[in-house]
Amino acid sequence: MISQQWRARLTYAAMSAFLAWHTATIVIAPAPDVSAFVQALRVPLHPYLVFFRLDNPWDFFAPNVGRRPQFRYIIEDVRGNHHPFMPTKDLNWFHPSFFWSYSWYDAVIDEPETYADAAAAFLCRKHASLHPVSIILLQAEGGDFTPEDQLAGKNPMDPEFVTVTTVKRVACTGS
């Protein structure tokens, strides 16, 4: 039997070990891993960091705010008609889907080879009533928008400030 005193000591040691370990993960995880030193420190922490979703750089709006391109798409129906959509217009700040949607659109724009087909398949199903043949996924990149533009009553998403390019054209399977 472990005596009461030793049990208390072991508990104290275990608690201290956990606190030291977790504090190390909190401090090291966000550190830029460009140096060999930080990379080496991260090795033993890696499973813990990933399994518990603790691996975050805490780089909110950093180093620069960055203007993410706006996601748009055009549905091409069987008659060759084009139906343009600007999904971000229907989003609402107060709804949880707002930032999740933006994150998804970013993924489609940033990694079209990975996510564009799945996104197109989803959108084809969503707009099945339009009998889509294909979907053209687009990105609208905003240009410089100055205070003078604002005072002139313009909007950052006005056509003069936006360059629209095709991300990918995807055929709707089963159409």
Binding site: A31, R53, A62, T88
Partner: protein, 440 residues
């Protein structure tokens, strides 16, 4: 040699004391409980609103099919329960369980294990569709893990109410001392470090960007699609210096916070600044969920003595309240045990008129209904007594909707109370909700 050993021993002893002093200060859990309630509420509200999109966000035919996620999964340690679901009912059951556990976390019911389910749920949602998570999902997992190892649910919770009620069923005047432990202090410290480190890296990261160095970041934020705010752009365009002030102010607060939040004198100012910053993020940028969760994380810096002072001030302001009840009625005693268990500040005194008659209310009156005596000498009977108390005892605020619906509450409340009071003898014999017989 002896002196060297002595010196080394002294150094280690001093280090040990410093370590214990930093981490293991006996503390109550109230700062962590504030974070628990807020985070539970935020998760419940947020994910409940996401329910109509359950299959779009995390389902097979949704935005990102599971096969695609697994194909691009770069690390075997990324795990989600949702990887293993095959039938739609499993998603629904999982989501329902997650919502119920979030609600339980909020109210502190069975906290010791529901917090783990909430953590597993949050991580599972995150990893099921990794492209979806943004700032708040990152901080949530970190705070939830700390709450999982912390002894939360010991105050401001239904678990605490149950414990107090059990003690009061033994003896109605019994009080349960507030829970405090060195581990609670250590976990509070851990959450504080988490928030300070977050601010530090966030501030340092901004220093590397031109938007922040040049003082234009605020302008750029408001012209982006997701944070577009016409009112703010109009204001900043005509007074551009506000953009610079806001930009540099944000960096200043983020950099000052991790260093000045620890000092007794500066903590209130830094805490107020951090909360102010997040209120701005919420109102002006639409980051309501993120800001709320961040503010809840900052609650770890609220000193328990501040809350205690606030409680005392509230108690003084509300004044002394005495409830006179029938100690021979088992149902009345059990009801009082429940009722008083929610009175965490100890605002209500009790008097059993059978053994200690009131000088204000006659025995004949108390035979008919419970009475509440106020500091000015007024005595409120039955339903009116409860109605008065629920507004003034914070632990009972959840009952306000039942007692204060105009007209309807009084219309229904009086007859219901009178019926219960008239039949309390019969109700006593039912022993409703009694875990064990009342102590004689």
């Amino acid at each position: 040699m002896h002196r060297i050993l002595e010196f080394v021993r002294n150094v280690f002893a001093a280090l040990g004391r410093a370590w214990s002093g930093f981490w293991f200060q006996t503390s109550v859990t109230t700062p962590l409980e504030l974070a628990r309630m807020g985070i539970g509420a935020a998760l419940l509200f947020h994910y409940a609103m996401a329910t109509p999109f359950l299959f779009d966000l995390w389902g097979e035919g949704g935005w990102v099919p599971r096969a695609l996620v697994l194909e691009n999964k770069t690390d075997p340690w990324m795990q989600s329960l949702l990887y293993y679901f095959t039938a739609p009912w499993q998603w629904v059951a999982f989501h329902a369980l997650f919502l119920v556990c979030s609600a339980a976390l909020m109210v502190g019911w069975r906290t010791s294990w529901v917090k783990w389910i909430v953590l597993v749920g949050q991580i599972s949602y995150d990893y099921r569709t990794p492209v979806l998570f943004y700032g708040v999902d990152k901080i949530l997992a970190c705070l939830l893990l700390i709450m999982c190892v912390a002894p939360i649910g010991r105050a401001m919770s239904l678990d605490r109410v149950r414990a107090v009620r059990a003690a009061k069923l033994e003896k109605l005047a019994a009080t349960l001392p507030p829970y405090a432990s060195p581990w609670a202090g250590a976990c509070t410290r851990l959450m504080q470090i988490q928030m300070a480190v977050l601010f530090f890296y966030s501030g340092v990261g901004k220093l590397r960007g031109d938007d922040w160095w040049n003082g234009d970041a605020l302008w750029v934020v408001f012209i982006t699609g997701e944070h577009y705010n016409r009112f703010m752009l109009d204001l900043l365009a005509s007074h551009y210096w506000l953009t610079n002030v806001g930009t540099y102010g944000t960096v200043l607060i983020e950099l000052a916070f991790p260093f000045l939040i620890w000092q007794r004198r500066t903590r209130p100012y830094l805490l107020a600044a951090a909360i102010f910053l997040h209120v701005q993020f919420a109102v002006l940028m639409g980051l309501f969920y993120f800001s709320f969760v961040m503010v809840m994380g900052h609650m770890s810096f609220v000193r328990p003595e501040w809350l205690a002072r606030l409680g005392q001030a509230w108690k003084r302001r509300m004044g002394d309240m005495e409830m006179i009840y029938d100690g021979r009625c088992g149902f009345c005693v059990r009801s009082m045990a429940w009722f008083l268990a929610f009175d965490g500040l100890g605002q209500v005194r009790i008097r059993d008129f059978r053994i200690d008659p009131s000088p204000v209310v006659s025995d004949a009156q108390v035979e008919k209904a419970l009475y509440l005596v106020l500091p000015d000498g007024r005595a409120l009977p039955g339903f009116e007594a409860y109605r008065y108390v629920v507004l003034r005892v914070p632990g009972l605020w959840w009952q306000i909707p039942f007692f204060y619906v105009p007209v309807l509450s009084r219309l229904c409340g009086h007859p219901i109370y009178n019926w219960i009071a008239a039949n309390r003898g019969r109700l006593s014999s039912l022993r409703l909700g009694l875990a064990r017989p009342l102590a004689k």
